[in-house]
Structure formats: structure tokens, C-alpha cells
Symmetry: C2
Subunit: 368 residues, 2 copies
């Protein structure tokens, strides 16, 4: 695996050279992890002229020490506790004779940036910008297989919940039980705070579970995800409780289902981000649901639960193959509840069968 | 409650005036919450010349809308989605005629700072520094009572666990069960990732629970905390599994207990932070445990699990009354395990009975 990280660093180095910087300082933790395989707290990565260094506040221990098998990356623990690793990295870059250093201005604070300037006043500080985030956009098959395992875990946890008695249980307890099941099935942990929403809460994006209990006739919407080896996935489903859904429930469900399908079908290399959004949005729009629509129909997913690209009306750019995204339209009717359907998929060319669905739990309207 | 937040903002405003800034921009989320009572994602607080504004990406909903009863603080949702609230705040400050604006340079990124400069080029940007963190150090009785409830919840969760069968269960399952019990007893959630460490892992600070099972003869150390109305607490205890602890276990336990007691007894107004650290540290030191000691004996606690002050060898400053802190010495012997004992207390003057212990679970060495 260590060659993977070295290759990622080589790609970043090329970008830096092209932009005129011989050295780069990566401070965002998720970016450090992507490039180094490990990311101890407060560690930063220096891509130097002579070598790559991982600067840590303390020597690697436990899982990090086991995971670090990368001989091309030297670990450099700071001698004293409490030192700033970014400042130490800039100091080292200057000592190695670098004349410029690209830093992550979207992450580094003004105070740290000033401390770097004062320790290495002759170093020209450039902006690395979101270069690492851009590298992270297209995933390799190893990354995608981690996401596939995470999606299987989430599907299992959800499937088991559906086999249990739901009426009378609170949103909070159902959410906790789902998170326990994620861990039982081997997840590192939940990918985000599990959302369980019943009755009038159903269909609300990011609803925080309350003490409301599941009742007959409710919509029940659930959104959960597993983290597996650092990679996240997301699945959302809506069910009805009781024997027969009401007409308005069936109608609303069918509409959101159709919008979500349209979004999924648009996931092909070369499709503009905004066109994926539009595919789903215009279906909801033309059914009269213009108010309260989510600001986006989906987003990239990987080491972070919400990363580039945004599938939103004003987004610029086009999908590439091997970009995992969510498609998650929803409609919420105040006081009545609503429907959200959410999948994680990987963009694949039509020749390879089109978009690969990672979260395979059925999207039929189940009456539980 | 809304007067509480207005009074906090008034204190911050005084500090700003004294430092020469008529306006301040608070962007750190926990600081926004402290000053406004609510902190929607990406919201910032502008203390302006004319009025205080909470700038949000979207109108307040759900719990935030219910919690916001503060008439002295106007909520200002940005018109378009995706706008930067900090940039919009600077724009407003300039429009209100401010000539300087103090910002949180330890939180604001270089990129956001630059965007602020470019939208309001005539505004002099000063550094608010950690002014809000300093205001947060001394807690009022309302804050302390939230922490007291949180500590009761953590004590209950821990007490119930001790009544159950432990041998054969994994660290991960015990940690999950503790977190479930925290929620059952009314916590918003865990205050941090619950740590359960058995056998050779016991006594390691911040140990991530593994699949190791509890065995006869083990040390078992547990560290957990509840969040209640945003306020956090922390408790850590070490037990032995089986009928009779070994001599080395009793000896080590007694030593850590004595060090922790010395640290607790030092918690009086006017004591230097470093002297609290020294009180515990020198006891471990003189018993020969110089290696592998934690870098600090405790820290402040409140809206964050780890906030000012640090009770560490090089810390500057003295304790005030009504500052909640942890006291948490520990010794870990590689390959054998160790002991940590951790309490949350509030500094109180001797006339009021001295330090108030919030986490009251017994610190006798229990054999379970």
C-alpha cells in the first residue's frame, strides 16, 4: 500500500512544481491521511525538496505505528510537547533551502500563517488551495472497495432494523441501535450522526433524533452510513408504518423515487454537476414542490461525508468516472412529514454498465 | 436566559473597546454558541456598532429556532445559499461605518481573512485573539449546574455497567453500552469517544476500544463523559477483575490515587496551574515513574472537553473560583497495563468547602 501514498504525493508534487513551488505543507488532517496513510492528531506533511516528512507532536503509537509502513516518508516527531508542527515544517523547509512553500490557505489559520512567516521570513508562502481535495475526487479501486464494504455494512444494519418491531420505539433509540449494529458488523464507526425521523419529522434532511415514538400510519425515514478504513458511505430510506399507506403517502413516495431515479440515471462521465441536480429537481419542481427543496441533490463522498463535487444548481464542472457521489432528493411537508431517498453510487461509463450502486437496500415503499 | 447572552456580549464588547476595536466578528462555533445561545452550522456573530447580528446560511429551524429567544440579537439569514457568513458580516460592519473589526485569527483561515479584506478593504482587521475563550473560563452557576447534571448521568451509566457481568465482553461493546446508557439517562450524547481499556491497555490515556475481551486478573480502566445542554464532563476509573488484586496492582493503584488526591486538594483559587500539575506529578515522579507520564495532570472543561486552563508543567496563570477542571493522573506500564483516575471538579474557595467534586463514583479499588 505504501506505493499508493508515494504516488499520490508525486502527483501533488507535480502540481506544485507546475505552480512554481518546490515544497508544500499539507495541514488538513484528512488530506494528510490521504497522502501519508496515517494522520495522527496535529500532524502535518511536508513535501520537501529532499524528502517527504510527516511532522508529529509525538512518536507514532498503536494503530498509526502499525499502519505506517511507508519508507519514502520519514516520521519526524517534534522534540518538545506543544510545538506547532506547521511552524516546525516551515522551519525545516527553509533549512533545506526551499525558497517557496505552498500552504493550505483554506485550512491554515491566520495566526498559524503569521507564526510560519515569522519563523521563516525569507520563505515565500504560496497557496496550495484545494489541490489535495481535487486529487481526492477520483477514487482508485482500493478506495471504492472500502466504500463498498461500508455500504454493505450499512445495508445489513438497516435490514436488521426492519425485521424488528418498530412501533412504540423512539427515534433516539432506533438511531442508537443502528449505530451499534454498524459497529457489530465491522464499521470503524458511523460515517455521520445517524438520523431517524418519524411522522411529521420524516423526510427532514439531517433531522436530529428526538424522543418521539414510531406510530401507526407514520412515515419513517432513516439516514445512516458506515465508515470503513476511513471511507464513508450514506444510505437513506423512507418507510410507512402499518398495513396500508395513505394515498398522499404513495403519491409523494412515487414522486421522490422518480426524482431520485432520474438523478441516478444522470450519473455518467461528462455530465455536468448541475445537470444531475436538475434531473431530480425539475421533477419535484414540476409537481409543485418548489419550496423547501434541499439546496443540492447530492455530493461527493469518500474520506469525508460531504466532499467535492456538489451536485447543485450553481455547481461548475463535469463528472468523471470513478467519482463516488450521493443522490438524495427529498420533500418535507411541514406538519405532515415527507420522504427522502438517498444512495451512494460510483460514476461509471455506460460501457461498464453505468453508475454502480453501492447501497443496495430496496427502494420499494415498504409497509412495516 | 437571553439576558445571560446579552451580558456576555457586553463583556466582550468592553474588551474590544479597550483594545481599540468598535466591532468584533466571532466565527468559532463554540464561541458563537457561548455568546448567542445557538450556533447553527457556519453561523457567525457580529458585534456591531449599532446592533448584534447572528449571520446564518439559512433561517433558524427546529431546536435552534426554539432556543433563540434573544431579542437583542437579530438573526440575519444570507439571501443566497453558499455565501460566506464571515465575509457578509465584514461587509455589514463596513456598511455600518465601522473602521476596525476584531476577528478570531486563531480560527479564521487565511483564505477567509483574504476574502474579508477584499470585500471591505477600508476596514482595519485586528485580532480578537482568544478573548471569548478567556471569558468562558470562569463559569456561572447555570453552566455549572449543566455540568453537574452531566456528571450525574455519567456516574449513573458507569454505576450500571459495574453491576453487569464484565468478563468475556470486549472493550468495544462495553464502550458502546456506556454510550447507550448516557443517552438513556438524558445526555445530548457522549462528551467524547468513550474509552474502555483492559489488561495491558488499561491506564492508557485516550485508548481506542479494541476487540480484546475482559479477563480475570485484568485492570479495567474506563473513561467517559456526558454532554448536557452543550456542557461536557469527564470521569475515569480503574477497577480490577476477579476476587483479589495482585500486590503490584494495589501498589500502583494506591500511588495514582494519592497523586490524584494531591491534585484535587490543590484546586483552590489562587493556586498556580503548574502547582496543581506538580502536586500530582511529583508523587508519581518520586515513586520512580518518570517515563510515560501524561503531559498534563488536568485541563479546563465546559462547552469543550479540553479547554483552558491547562494544568501542565509550563502553564502560566492561577486558578479562579468557579473554573471547572479535570484531575486525571495515570501510570501505564507497557505490557502490563496501568491505572488512571479522573474527576471533574469546580474550583471553590476554602470558605465554601473547597473544590466541588462533580463526578462522585467511588475511587476505592473495586474488585469486580
Amino acid at each position: 500500500m505504501s506505493e499508493v501514498y508515494a504516488a499520490r504525493r508525486a502527483r501533488l508534487r507535480e502540481r506544485c512544481y507546475a505552480a512554481g513551488s518546490a515544497s508544500a505543507l499539507v495541514s488538513r488532517r484528512v488530506n494528510v491521511r490521504y497522502l501519508a496513510g496515517v494522520a495522527p492528531r496535529d500532524a502535518v506533511l511536508l513535501l520537501g525538496r529532499e524528502e517527504d516528512l510527516l511532522l508529529c507532536g509525538a512518536p507514532l503509537t498503536g494503530r498509526d505505528a502499525e499502519a505506517h509502513l511507508d519508507e519514502a516518508l520519514r516520521v519526524h516527531p517534534l522534540p518538545g510537547a506543544g510545538g506547532d508542527t506547521a511552524v516546525a515544517a516551515a522551519d525545516l523547509a527553509a533549512a533545506q533551502g526551499a525558497d517557496s512553500l505552498a500552504v493550505e490557505e483554506h485550512h491554515l489559520t491566520v495566526a498559524r500563517h503569521r507564526a510560519i512567516r515569522s519563523v521563516a521570513p525569507r520563505l515565500l508562502l504560496a497557496d496550495l488551495d484545494r489541490s489535495v481535495e481535487q486529487l481526492r475526487l477520483v477514487k482508485d479501486e482500493e478506495e471504492i472497495s472500502c466504500m463498498r464494504v461500508g455500504a454493505e455494512i450499512a445495508d445489513q444494519a438497516l435490514g436488521e432494523l426492519l425485521e424488528s418491531i418498530l412501533v412504540g420505539r423512539t427515534e433516539r433509540h432506533l438511531a442508537l441501535e443502528l449505530e451499534r449494529r454498524l459497529i457489530d458488523h465491522g464499521a470503524d464507526g458511523p460515517a455521520f450522526a445517524t438520523s431517524v425521523a418519524t411522522g411529521p419529522n420524516a423526510g427532514r434532511r439531517g433531522h436530529h433524533p428526538t424522543d418521539r415514538r414510531v406510530e401507526e400510519g407514520d412515515f419513517l425515514s432513516v439516514c445512516l452510513g458506515a465508515t470503513y478504513r476511513g471511507y464513508r458511505c450514506e444510505i437513506g430510506r423512507t418507510f410507512v408504518i402499518g398495513t396500508s399507506p395513505a394515498d398522499w403517502q404513495i403519491e409523494l413516495y412515487d414522486l421522490v423515487f422518480a426524482a431520485q431515479r432520474a438523478g441516478r440515471q444522470a450519473l455518467l462521465p461528462g455530465t455536468a454537476y448541475r445537470d444531475v441536480d436538475r434531473a431530480g429537481r425539475q421533477m419535484l419542481d414540476s409537481a409543485g414542490y418548489t419550496e423547501g427543496l434541499p439546496p443540492l441533490m447530492g455530493h461527493g463522498i469518500g474520506l469525508e461525508i460531504d466532499e467535492d463535487p456538489q451536485l447543485a444548481p450553481a455547481a461548475m464542472g463535469k463528472l468523471d468516472a470513478c467519482v463516488p457521489v450521493t443522490v438524495e432528493p427529498g420533500v418535507h411537508l411541514p406538519g405532515r412529514g415527507g420522504v427522502r431517498i438517498d444512495d451512494t453510487l460510483v460514476v461509471r461509463p455506460e460501457a461498464d454498465g453505468g453508475p454502480e450502486l453501492l447501497t443496495i437496500t430496496t427502494k420499494e415503499l415498504l409497509a412495516l
